[in-house]
């Protein structure tokens, strides 16, 4: 099986490939794999390094199922089913949907895929150019293929679908193009749309009715209209910001909404509901149950990006079903899953864009000194627009330690708001952005361990570059994450002590997974290949002399080496 090992030199020759992150079911993130533990992880060795030979993509998120590993590459996508039972991990089948090249121009700084989801023998995936596709996991045959997003208007499907029972939940992306965000449910068998609810606009379209209550919103009808300048919600963005989750006992679909458009907040006075917040919807009807505005009148394009982690924890003397949400704005929120009530909110790194939560209204108090204006540059806004965490940087929670492991970007930005004019299919942005390390240090990233119950930092492992990869916390007390300079690292979950590291051919922005094969042996898999926002710098034709290139991100990681851009899938295990 491991004959796939090849000299690194050869791998460097592979075509321009893009890498990925993943949108894992939460259960997998905190792997139950217990035979890899703090004591033995240091001896872990590479079992397989597989170049994902695609014309323009590298390994996406991998799914393990019955000795098959499904890998999806970024746009233009390709799905591979690998047979792990064979020593050469040969390809069982390969599926490449027809791609609309225009979508390549819509990736805001990065072309990634959030992966696919496997349910009941079918693989469901969202393509960046707007299709939701169901494949037969055994053969790779297309079961159905529906067009859900209009690429011509800048609308894309970036976040992987969520499969619950016989339903597929998808949400659109494209807030940067002024695409009005929505969430929809499809019939898993046919692809027929069951419902579609918007994230802004009149109550009817948002799905707000009888069953809706929120302690943080005014009791007024049509907030999705009245909190915007006239008609601005129609091009107000608010697409899906991060992977949704499903709360089975409550029957709730909980999802984030993306940032409002344009980024120039002076052009959209008002709270801009229901962008940049958390929605809980009835999974069957799509009707809204509660909404928490995380970044109302979002000044910096954070959206409400950041992982959603349901957990049942001991909270102030009771067991409570909570939702842990480390947000792009640099705060860890702990919410009650059933009501949306914010139980606590603490900044997990240095934040100056906001000054904490207003206790009564539950809304974030912005820092007026850091608001962006037209015709002036606001300097050193921390965190920067890619967010303190979120996107490909997925956090993980380990119930044993009670710690939340947050991959963090410690970046600040200079921002100048600019007048933006809406033209469908072109970016509706309205900002000049320049990102840079914080004033006093060049440690631009870290893996943080956050004590959720105590609301304080347990430990942190600093990195030179922002940490864009997902985190895997295993039951054995080991935490895995990757870095932009290509290290795949294992640290002690309780102390952050480095245990093991491996240098990959490329940056790691993907999601590590752990799985157990039939032989009972534990494996850790991760995709390497620079993608995400960093991918734009390393792979696109970026000129870093322009401090605003890649929306300023290029400036922040101008020392990122552009070499080794091929996508690789690595699988490790104990010897």
């Amino acid at each position: 099986m491991f004959a796939g090992l090849r000299p690194r030199r050869m791998l460097l020759c592979t075509a321009v490939l893009l890498a990925s992150a993943s949108g894992f079911a939460v259960s997998l993130q905190s792997s139950a794999a217990s035979d890899i533990d703090v004591g033995n992880v240091g001896g872990m060795t590479l079992r397989l390094a597989l170049p994902i030979r695609q014309t323009s993509g590298s390994a996406g998120r991998a799914i393990f199922d019955h000795d098959r590993l499904f890998v999806i590459t970024p746009f233009p996508h390709s799905v591979l089913a690998l047979n792990l039972a064979r020593t050469d991990a040969s390809v069982l089948w390969r599926y490449s949907p027809r791609a609309d090249g225009m979508a390549a121009g819509l990736a805001t700084g990065h072309v990634t895929t959030d992966g696919a989801v496997l349910s009941a023998g079918r693989l469901f995936l969202n393509t960046f150019d707007g299709h939701t596709i169901a494949l037969d996991a055994a053969t790779g045959g297309v079961v159905w293929d529906v067009a859900m997003a209009d690429v011509e208007r800048g609308e894309t499907l970036l976040v992987a679908p969520l499969a619950i029972d016989d339903r597929i939940y998808i949400g659109n992306s494209g807030s940067d193009f002024g695409v009005r965000g929505w969430m929809a449910a499809l019939n898993a068998a046919t692809g027929r749309m069951l419902w579609k609810r918007y994230n802004a606009g009149p109550d009817v379209e948002v799905g707000i009715g009888e069953g809706f209550s929120s302690p943080y919103l005014p009791r007024e009808p049509d907030l999705g209209v009245t909190s915007w300048p006239a008609n601005a919600w129609q091009q107000g963005g608010g697409g899906l910001a991060d992977a949704p989750i499903y709360d089975a006992p409550l029957g709730l679909l909980i999802h984030t909404t993306g940032h409002p458009a344009p980024m120039n907040a002076e052009q959209r006075p008002g709270a801009n509901y229901f962008t940049s917040g958390l929605f809980a919807r009835d999974a069957l009807s799509g009707d809204a149950r509660w909404f928490v505005p995380i970044n109302p009148h979002d000044l910096y394009g954070f959206g409400a990006a950041g992982s959603l982690i349901p957990a049942d924890i001991h909270w102030q003397g009771n067991n409570r079903a909570v939702l842990i949400h480390p947000d792009a704005n640099g705060m860890v929120y702990v919410l009650d899953r059933s009501s949306g009530q914010i139980l606590s909110a603490h900044p997990f790194l240095e934040v100056n864009a906001s000054e904490g939560l207003d206790a009564r209204s539950g809304t974030l108090r912005g820092n007026p000194a850091k608001a962006a204006h037209v015709n002036s540059t606001t300097r050193d806004i921390c965190p920067a627009w890619p967010g303190a965490t979120g996107g490909t940087a997925r956090a993980a929670f380990a119930p044993q330690t009670g710690l939340l492991y947050i991959p963090v970007s410690r970046l600040c930005m200079d921002m100048e708001a600019r007048q933006a004019s809406f033209m469908p299919g072109t970016p509706y942005m309205g900002a000049n952005l320049r990102i840079k390390p914080p004033r006093d240090s060049n440690r631009r990233g870290a893996l943080l361990a956050w004590d959720v119950a105590a609301g304080r930092l347990a430990w942190s492992a600093d990195e030179s570059l922002p940490v864009e990869s997902g985190v895997l916390a295993t039951a054995g007390g080991v935490v895995f994450y990757g870095t932009l300079d290509g290290w795949f690292k294992a640290v002690d979950a309780s102390s952050g002590r480095p245990l093991w590291q491996f240098h990959a051919a490329s940056a790691i922005v993907g999601q590590p997974i752990g799985f157990q094969r039939a032989d009972g042996r534990q494996y850790i898999a991760v995709a390497a290949g620079v993608g995400g926002a960093a991918g734009a710098v390393a792979q696109k034709e970026i000129d870093i002399r322009d401090a605003t290139a890649a929306r300023g991100y290029a400036n922040a990681i101008r020392d990122l080496k552009p070499a080794a851009t091929d996508g690789m899938l690595y699988i490790f295990s104990l010897p």
Binding site: L106, K436, D543, R545, T548, A549
Partner: protein
């Protein structure tokens, strides 16, 4: 002598032609693409007018304004690129000649460049073409625009951005 030389150089760089006659507009739109549709021949009127979209400061300045207004920055940033390729690095996917850039803007390109034929007039597309060419110039034209009154991002077009070395201290 110096003044006369300057005078000759300057002749057309500063005159501001504010209105293009409709027949001239039609003629300017009459780019004949080659079979590959990547580039083509310059319309004869372009040369006949003295190539104003290449060397006239006003037309290039208008192009810079359009670059800002028509959301070019969303994909190409201030020339450094983002989801679209960089324009300041002096490398061109479809070649540096004006016609191919004109066609790129007017008709779009397959990997994400939308067509602007329905958003800009022919004259504006030529202005934008001229301006985009100054962004990736290795030697600055006298008529090239200077910096804008906005956040500093890179040396302006009149400082030959493509000619400067790709190595600068991190701007903080």
């Amino acid at each position: 002598m110096l003044l006369i030389a300057l005078a000759l150089l300057a002749c057309k760089r500063e005159a501001r032609e504010l209105r293009t006659d409709p027949p001239a507009t039609d003629a300017l739109n009459g780019v004949v693409p080659m079979a590959n549709r990547i580039n083509g021949g310059l319309p004869r009127i372009f040369i006949a007018q003295g190539s104003p979209y290449e060397n006239n400061a006003y037309q290039l300045g208008q192009g810079k304004r359009l670059y800002d207004w028509f959301n070019c920055k969303g994909c190409h940033a201030n020339g450094g690129g983002a989801s679209g390729p960089a324009l300041t690095d002096g490398r061109w996917r479809y070649g540096p000649d004006p016609v191919s850039i004109f066609l790129t803007i007017r008709d779009g390109r397959p990997h994400g460049m939308p067509a602007f034929a329905n958003r800009l007039t022919t004259e504006q597309i030529w202005q934008l073409t001229g301006y985009v060419r100054t962004m990736g110039a290795y030697s600055a034209q006298t008529a090239a625009p200077s910096r804008n009154d906005e956040m500093q991002s890179r040396p302006a077009e009149n400082r030959a951005p493509a000619a400067t070395e790709i190595r600068m201290p991190p701007s903080r």
